[in-house]
Symmetry: D2
Amino acid sequence: MNGIVSGIIPPLLTPLTETGEVDYESLGNLVERLVGAGVDGIFVLGSSGEVAFLTDAVRDQVIAKVLELVDGRCPVYAGVIDTQTNRVIEHIQRAEKLGVQAVVATAPFYAITGPAEIEAHFRALRTATTLPIIAYDIPVCVHSKLAPALLVQLGAEGVLQGVKDSSGDDVSFRRLCMLNKAAGSPMKVLTGHEVVVDGSYLAGGDGCVPGLGNVDPSGYVRMWQAFQSGDLRQMKEEQDRLARLFEIVFTPVGKVGPAAGVGAFKTALELIGVIKTNTMSVPMTPISDSASREAIEKIVREVGLID
Amino acid sequence: MNGIVSGIIPPLLTPLTETGEVDYESLGNLVERLVGAGVDGIFVLGSSGEVAFLTDAVRDQVIAKVLELVDGRCPVYAGVIDTQTNRVIEHIQRAEKLGVQAVVATAPFYAITGPAEIEAHFRALRTATTLPIIAYDIPVCVHSKLAPALLVQLGAEGVLQGVKDSSGDDVSFRRLCMLNKAAGSPMKVLTGHEVVVDGSYLAGGDGCVPGLGNVDPSGYVRMWQAFQSGDLRQMKEEQDRLARLFEIVFTPVGKVGPAAGVGAFKTALELIGVIKTNTMSVPMTPISDSASREAIEKIVREVGLID
Amino acid sequence: MNGIVSGIIPPLLTPLTETGEVDYESLGNLVERLVGAGVDGIFVLGSSGEVAFLTDAVRDQVIAKVLELVDGRCPVYAGVIDTQTNRVIEHIQRAEKLGVQAVVATAPFYAITGPAEIEAHFRALRTATTLPIIAYDIPVCVHSKLAPALLVQLGAEGVLQGVKDSSGDDVSFRRLCMLNKAAGSPMKVLTGHEVVVDGSYLAGGDGCVPGLGNVDPSGYVRMWQAFQSGDLRQMKEEQDRLARLFEIVFTPVGKVGPAAGVGAFKTALELIGVIKTNTMSVPMTPISDSASREAIEKIVREVGLID
Amino acid sequence: MNGIVSGIIPPLLTPLTETGEVDYESLGNLVERLVGAGVDGIFVLGSSGEVAFLTDAVRDQVIAKVLELVDGRCPVYAGVIDTQTNRVIEHIQRAEKLGVQAVVATAPFYAITGPAEIEAHFRALRTATTLPIIAYDIPVCVHSKLAPALLVQLGAEGVLQGVKDSSGDDVSFRRLCMLNKAAGSPMKVLTGHEVVVDGSYLAGGDGCVPGLGNVDPSGYVRMWQAFQSGDLRQMKEEQDRLARLFEIVFTPVGKVGPAAGVGAFKTALELIGVIKTNTMSVPMTPISDSASREAIEKIVREVGLID
């Protein structure tokens, strides 16, 4: 079984046309932006990729197109997000056939499940594929938290090869890194939180899956390189700059969830000229009021991404 | 557009074989039990039907088989449960083609959405079908609550034809009934809570979607008839008896969510002889310890469903 | 040990002057309104009485004054709301010395406690007083739910003599009534939810502690009498009327919690002429915008409380 | 008005005798341990000090005794934790009279309050004292989160002089630091999370209020000094060691909240010989099973705090 890479693996946005189809030209521009910046991998169909909004047919098309665009320059990992085990297994098998290098799966959701079911879920996924599996810990979406001890147990047994931690619980993240290291580091532990990445590297994290990395992949690559070279002061300074950039997600008026966060990323990329529109999937609407757009533009300019 | 019936519309369980396939013989027995008891409709692929655990192919097979088994003796409504609008629309279109009489849809879930997106979601569903749409208010699964004022607004405009309220918020339920009545009763308002149905009828409810109605459909039919005939004392006594029966869901040791609730319903039906096994969908395990099974059997016997 | 009465026991509001002191003249008017309507008891210093906002000295003054005003015409129960056991015991001992007939205590709050601590808490309260103790189940304030099985166990042992259920969980309420009855009815089980009282009586409830009962005590007394006399139709009709009146709490713009609910009750009583101002405790502000006040007045007029 | 110090300000535990009184001899030992390690301040009557469990009389005695024991060697800040504004003001005025150097206040709790009331609450506290006020952001206890923008606004106006952030939301923490700095650093921003302190220093934090600092104050002092001297590698290594020590809070079987966390700290200090018993306030019980005690002892030994 292949391992999971360390470093920067942005969750790729899914650019849309104004009528809501995937905008493949913009997708190509975005992939080039990331690969050109030197990212270590690309995570397609994550929460930032609006995976929950896409039909199965569109999901497959996006995976296939990204694999074609990347063309082996870095590994491509695919989100296989669905409510419960058998539905997730179908996504895994389609993604495997399409040729991804790993899959990323959450705990079951919609129906309430306890720790025993969560464990059984990941064990069942393991039997369905030979691909590496990254557990995606995202309580804000699935409403349960993956316990560090369970994750490390599953890592030690070869069920899981990585964790993407978007739990927002940095105490748990450090415990996860510590327990994983004590178990011989069977998993790569990646943080999903864009503005506390420097702290997560100190805590033992192996890399980052930053949604904001669509907007500024080079910043995240530089921060990782600074950490790797032991220049912790430089690492912190890159993080401070990216934290200023992240303020774009707090500017949209009257929007919540991905309509604010992903919406701000798309708006920034439209302003930078990478994608054509900031259209969001139904039922979300794009950031269109001029106050929000100007606030985003001002921040993007301040950190030097547009002149 | 057809309306939604009043009365008893149980959410049909999905019996499984020991290896996890749909057990169509048991499904036939169960449908006959409900239709024979005089239910007013059948709701297939609800939370009690383990919808979140079933692949699209299995969902379609269940709908088709239930329509064939019911054969027009009562309307069949289908759950179209998925994360976001475009995925729900696909389920609606498949269910419509299969021939159901109405669809039942929740608010969007997984990705956070606000009130504006919830409203846009239901409006988008409306444009995709001519079938009646029942809004399914189930915060424990989707983690948002449907506001009575929004529901009644959508009802008055013809977007929604019914509400299945499984919110557990009876104050909100009475407000919904009151506002719906003041708007000319554009929707049927149905409760999903098995043990406070008598109170929901007093509050103005038009019927009930009781998971426990799989186990004792006749009890729910009698309770509804007592209410219709004005015999409120009899209504209350039927409810008290059904509340004693509902205690089966609190007996399973170490199980939560549907593994406890649906698991207890299936175990009771197995003991009564309606279905062959109490198998649950992966990653859930059936109730197999003898203490839990005996506790369920004792209760089922006490209320007179087995000798 | 004295028992707890059945029937209507409104949680008395605490009228304030414009500068925030207790308005004893208005308090006297309000007590006369309740006693004159034939309530079965008065619950002072509940959530509706703004207990969390009052200093110990003011709490004592309110208890003493209400006891003097009621003058034995009905029992007076006092809230002894505080974070943890030893602080609650101090309130109990002061209330006992002042002469109340029972105390009403929540689970511990602020610091997280589990089921074992909740049980130990109520057992410790029992050792500190000979007064009846009513457990106050109000998760929205204390963020834990009292389990029916624990409550009935404590009732059977003489630790508790009653439960005021403001949990909003009517399934749990019916289970509590059922288990309490099966144990020989050691406790009086009272609901705190104003608009589903008819259903709670069907479920086995022994009475009601309605905040709205400050505004219309006669309505709640009539509903209880209708239930007692077996006229369930009349019971439901009184409840429907009171549910319309309860809409006043949804009218205030931009207010949450007691600032909306108790604020609306106070505004209604000011409009009816029972209390002088609708002032709320710091940091809450009263309902002062004319749109909200007019909406409240319209509803109060429609149900016949003003001409 | 005096400012708030930077650096290490442990929230002092309150040692108890086996019968539950404050153990002043152990308190003296503990204070000497902290002052001797070079802490920058002591925070008495925080959550770790079991403030919610202590009566007003005991709170006053603890403050008075700690002031006497510290004798001016470092500033003493006191928690003024209570449900709502007027009750908090009473605590502030008593603490001010006793001579503390600052007070630490949470948002209102028990009764639901919104952002407007939270703002009014802190403004009302400001009018009641000339002492510096530290806002205590602890959603796990008070069930609301203090917004960075509001805190910085109140800081800029002189209402607040500091924030103790125990929210567990490190994204919010970095934003708070960033906004506070942009406003001219009117407040000291302190983290309450023991195992991600290195990250919080990178994020701009001015210090730490670690409960675990009762057990190992020297470790936290060394970590702060390493940060101050720019030795970020050493800072991280101290944090890794303290994270290993923090594992003591995950060892107690069947305990939650302070019964686990503070209970583990007390048990460790008893094992080290600083305090006489690990007694907890009613209704909590101490960690007494030998497995838990041995697990704690093993960890405390591994990090070198006992031989």
